[in-house]
């Protein structure tokens, strides 16, 4: 039962990445086509004013966290599959599962903290 659930989440995470990566591409690389779309200051999407605005936005904080979670799960599940194809023993499989889960949680906690702390940092920097 476990493999089916893990694989289903893998596909769901892939869909989340597809949607959010599309959003990212639109905001960062189609700013000429959609100049004011989440770039309130207009011009370059990487300009400080635009970046600061997005960093302070609750919507963007949420999308960063969801995207981070989806990308980490999708990537680490893929890595797990690759490692499992090297035919490890039962003990090593368990170790791989624990190690990848721990790595994913640590990276997620760090990334989520960055997204949550960003508005305060931006305010202190005058954004």
């Amino acid at each position: 039962m476990r493999d089916r659930t893990l694989w289903t989440w893998h596909i769901v995470a892939g869909l989340v990445i597809l949607v959010f990566l599309g959003l990212h591409m639109t905001i960062m690389h189609l700013n000429s086509t959609f100049p004011t779309f989440n770039n309130p200051a207009g011009g370059e999407a990487e300009s400080w004013v635009n970046v600061a605005w997005r960093m302070k936005s609750l919507f963007f904080a949420l999308t960063y966290v969801v995207m981070l979670g989806a990308a980490l799960y999708h990537g680490l599940y893929g890595l797990r599959n690759i490692l499992f194809e090297l035919n490890p023993g039962t003990g090593l499989r368990r170790t791989i599962n624990v190690a990848l889960s721990a790595l994913g949680l640590v990276l997620f906690a760090f990334g989520a903290w960055v997204a949550v702390a960003a508005p305060g940092v931006v305010s202190r920097m005058g954004g």
């Binding site: 039962m1 476990r2 493999d3 089916r4 659930t5 893990l6 694989w7 289903t8 596909i11 599959n81 499992f84 194809e85 090297l86 035919n87």
Partner: protein, 275 residues
């Protein structure tokens, strides 16, 4: 007078007898191949003329029994279903199917494949055991429902798909294309009610989750079955079931025996056009 249609072909055959040989070796024999001659015919000729102890499995000689699956010029094929001329080579390299242990020479040990096949319950599972023992009619099924699984029922269990699968080559837990396609064949049969029982095995590591969709199984199948498609459809079924989105249906009912009466809505045959 010499037969000008004959063409000399070099058979390179991989020989190995576990317990006797330390490692496999290649044996080479030249034979005269006539047009229409199959690789299996060539092997018989080699056995008669040069290598009486050469071992392989074969039976029907017409691509039905699935016994003579072997690696011919680097591709899993049925020896009886492969003409030497279609290989377009003067060299015919024959080895046992990869991804299986070797019993002797060209005879692979297919028993792990069949054990997995059996574990996935490849038969109709229904509660009306009495009906199955002593049928009172036929199980209802429309032609459209039949088409959902028909191509998967053409599988002859030759093992060519298992030999071509890159996941089977590296992952001993993965069930492989043949057993999975067979399980899907019954899961998609409207007469069957065994989805929940098969799910116990398929939803775990032995299910379709490790398939990379390389598609080699479908490429090499000598019967034109598409196991890769069956595996993707199986994933779809199992995920929809997890999300509670799979339509649950009871197995089809028994259709009574024909009454013998002609139906009134059947149109009459058209008049004869040939006297």
């Amino acid at each position: 007078m010499a037969d000008t249609n004959l063409k000399q072909v070099l058979f390179r055959i991989r020989r190995f007898e576990p317990g006797k040989d330390r490692e496999p070796r290649w044996e080479e024999h030249k034979i005269d191949a006539a047009p229409g001659m199959t690789v299996l015919d060539g092997l018989w000729k080699v056995k008669e003329l040069f290598a009486p102890t050469l071992a392989w499995r074969s039976s029907c000689r017409m691509g039905i029994c699935g016994s003579c699956g072997m690696l011919v010029n680097g591709r899993p094929r049925l020896a009886c279903n492969t003409q030497i001329s279609e290989l377009q080579s003067d060299v015919v390299a024959v080895g046992p199917l990869p991804n299986f242990d070797i019993i002797k020479d060209l005879v692979p040990d297919l028993s792990p494949m069949f054990e997995t096949h059996r574990e996935l319950l490849p038969y109709l599972l229904r509660e009306d055991l009495q009906e199955q023992e002593d049928p009172t009619g036929e199980y209802w099924q429309t032609p459209h429902e039949l088409e959902r699984y028909l191509q998967f029922s053409y599988c002859i269990k030759c093992g060519c798909c298992m030999a071509a699968c890159p996941t089977v080559a590296t992952d001993p837990v993965y069930s492989g294309p043949m057993p999975l396609a067979a399980a899907h064949r019954y899961d998609s049969d409207t007469r069957d009610g065994g989805f929940a029982q098969r799910r116990e095995v398929l939803a775990d590591g032995r299910g379709p989750w490790r398939c990379h969709f390389a598609g080699e199984c479908s490429q090499v199948c000598p019967k034109g079955v598409d196991p890769a498609k069956a595996i993707q459809l199986m994933k779809q079924d199992l995920v929809l079931d997890l999300l509670r989105l799979r339509a649950r249906r009871p197995p089809s009912k028994v259709l009574g025996k024909p009454s013998g009466k002609r139906r009134e809505d059947v149109p009459a045959a058209p008049p004869r056009t040939v006297k």
